[in-house]
Structures are given as structure tokens and as C-alpha cells.
Point group: C2
Chain length 227, copies 2
């Protein structure tokens, strides 16, 4: 069997990571639509789709191990491979969190419901989180490092939504009871964690595809056009 060059394996990993991010984005979008419209069957599909993300992660691991074993890459390349593995772990977790949202929808169908005012914020959080995962996919596909930097700002936006959820909960006019408060608290946390992981993933992908940290890339950009 011919040994694939390291650059080729790296492109293949970048492509798999992009696929994983896109799949995580789709899962979160579907889970959020299921939440918005109370669609239990769509929620069940999100859980089923999680296997696809897990399979992609296994392939990243195989390729990364092959790359290391066949090419004994030097320190810088090794850190790239490790970053790719870390990114795949984080994206897998994003898939899990989308599944958690989906499971909450299934729980709510036969129990207490999410109040409309919280649901509206979750719809926004779901769109934002999915867009963040799509941006991370684009970082993997295009090596556009500026997108990775953008993700930090998106995350601030997400944190603002989280705070508005907690303000809603702690407002003394909350009249939806404890069960709904518990569900809303957990859902808010799932969306927030999804976004946190997306930020981490984008950073790891930058390292995996460029061999440089975002800070290094930014410093080089600031230093002027010689890059």
C-alpha cells in the first residue's frame, strides 16, 4: 500500500472535522426546531444522527494515528495532529449536547412545557450555536483564521442570551413552576456549552490546519503585509 503524504492526511482530517462540525450544526438546528414546535419525532432523529458524528470521530482518530505512525512527524506537526484529535473530541461533545436538547424536548412532551418567552431565546441560541459550528467547519475547509477570531465575539453574544434566561428565571414574575425552571436551566446550559466547545474547536482547527495558534496568526497579521 502506498503511504499517503502527510499533507494529504492533513487535508483528509480537515475535511472530516468540517463534516463533523456541519453534522453538529444540523443536530443543534433540528433539536431547536423540535423544541420550538414540540416535535418529538424530530427530536428522536437528532439522537439517532449522533452516531454519524461518533463514526466520523473514529475516522479522525484512525487517520491521526496513521499519520503519526507512518510519518513520525516533528514536534510542530505532532501538535497539529493532537489538535485535530482534541477538536474531534470537542465536536463529539457538541453532538452530545444537541442530543441533550433533543432529549429535553422528548421529556417535555409528556410533562411540563418550556414557557414561550424562554423558548424564543432558545431558538436564537440554537441558531447562533449552529452558525458557530458552521463557522468552525468553514475554518477547517478554508483555513480562514479570521472566522475563528469572530467566534469569540459570537460566544459573548451567546453569554448575553444565557444571562437573559437567568434574569427571566430569577424575575419574581416567573409563574411556570419549578419543573419548567429546571428544564430551562438545563437547556440554557446545553446551548452555552455547545457554543463554548465551538470556540475551542475553531482554535484547535486553526492549529491543526496551519500549525500556528490564533494568537501567533494574529500577531503576524498585525505585523503587516509580509505574511
Amino acid at each position: 500500500m502506498a503511504v499517503a503524504p502527510l499533507a494529504e492526511l492533513r487535508d483528509e482530517v480537515a475535511d472530516l472535522l468540517a463534516q463533523m462540525c456541519t453534522a453538529a450544526a444540523t443536530s443543534l438546528r433540528n433539536a431547536t426546531v423540535a423544541l420550538r414546535d414540540n416535535r418529538g419525532r424530530l427530536a428522536a432523529q437528532v439522537e439517532a444522527a449522533d452516531k454519524e458524528i461518533d463514526d466520523l470521530r473514529t475516522r479522525v482518530e484512525q487517520i491521526a494515528t496513521t499519520a503519526m505512525a507512518l510519518h513520525s512527524p516533528m514536534a510542530g506537526n505532532l501538535r497539529s495532529v493532537v489538535s485535530a484529535l482534541r477538536a474531534s473530541d470537542d465536536i463529539e461533545r457538541m453532538g452530545d449536547l444537541a442530543s441533550h436538547v433533543a432529549r429535553a424536548v422528548q421529556r417535555c412532551e409528556d410533562g411540563h412545557r418550556i414557557p414561550d418567552e424562554a423558548r424564543a431565546v432558545f431558538v436564537e441560541m440554537g441558531e447562533m450555536g449552529a452558525d458557530m459550528a458552521d463557522k468552525a467547519a468553514q475554518v477547517a475547509r478554508t483555513r480562514d483564521v479570521l472566522l475563528a477570531i469572530e467566534l469569540e465575539r459570537d460566544d459573548d453574544e451567546m453569554d448575553r442570551r444565557l444571562r437573559s434566561i437567568f434574569e427571566m428565571l430569577l424575575d419574581r414574575h416567573w409563574e411556570h413552576g419549578i419543573g419548567a425552571a429546571v428544564d430551562v436551566t438545563l437547556l440554557a446550559r446545553y446551548y452555552e456549552r455547545f457554543a463554548d466547545h465551538a470556540v475551542k474547536v475553531a482554535k484547535e482547527i486553526v492549529y491543526a490546519v496551519t500549525g500556528r495558534t490564533i494568537a501567533e496568526v494574529q500577531a503576524a497579521l498585525d505585523a503587516g503585509p509580509q505574511l
Copy 2:
């Protein structure tokens, strides 16, 4: 500079992982005492101690990268190194979760308090979680794979506590208001996640120190005394 043999680097990583687990156990214990006795200053110490765990993780990463670069280990050894890195990521997260508990204590000091009945369960969850982290440390120190298997049972016990917290919250006699319900929900989740990570860590450490999965080790044990 003399190149350290791979076995030596592996021992060094195992020792660092054990130190990280012990530090995470200490953090969770302190955070839980702070929660039990409403001690804001102790909670602040937990947050400060988190840096120690982060520094240990950086060292694991350095040694793992050195090991790979100097020895170009074969596929099996590579997976061990990758498992060690994954373990260090998970233990770092355990430290973060202990900090989250500590931060919740600091929030509660000047706000709503955790009801005694929930606090009692959290004290149990804190002890169990810290014991699990200690067991993971022992797996790293002694390669006692049976301890790693035990951790799965411990995690079931933890999940039972989590369910009892949710039953408490959803019981219609909950009279501590929404703020306390939100705090209790988040705390329950932090403890549960800490335990989940401890189970993962023990599995990763088994692979890192023996080069075999728990399932493989168990199959070998079941096959009889030829091991």
C-alpha cells in the same frame, strides 16, 4: 541531552496524571466543604488552585509531545500517548467543574441559599466524586485495572443521587423558590459531570498505562490465570 527511554516518559506521565486526579479530588472536596459550611473564602481558594491543574496538564502535553517526537512510537504506543492527553483534558475539566461548584457557593453567600436537604445530597455527591478521582489517581499509580471497573458502579450511585435531587426539585412541596431551584439544578449537574469525567479518565489511564482497553483487560481476566 540524553534521551529518556519511552518507558520512563510513560511513568512520568502516569505520575503527572495521578497528581492531576488528586488535585481535582482536593478541589472538589474543598468546594463541597465550602458549600456545606457556607465558606466563601475556602471557595475562593478552590478557584485559585485550578491553575495548578492547568500547569500539570501543560506538562503532560510537553512530555507526550516529546515522547512522540523522540521515539516515533508505534501505533499501540501512540494510542497510549493520545489516551494520556485525553485523560489530562478530562481532568482539567474536572478541575473546572470543582471551580464551578466553588463559584456557586460564592454566589449563594450574598443571595439565595441552598436548602439543607439538597446540601446534604451534595455533600454525598462531593465525597463520592472526590473518591472517584482518587481511584482514578490510584489506577495511574498502581495500574490496578479493577479499580477502573469499580468506577462505573460508583457512577451509577452518583446518578441515583442526581435523580433524588430532581425528585426533590419536582416534588410539589419544594418551597425554596426558583433561585434556589436554579442553583440546585446547576450544582447537581456539575457533580454529575465531574463523576462522568472521572469514569472516562480511569478508562483513558488504563489505556495509557497498559496499552489495552478495559474490555480487553477484562476479557483476558475472564479467560483465566494465564494473564
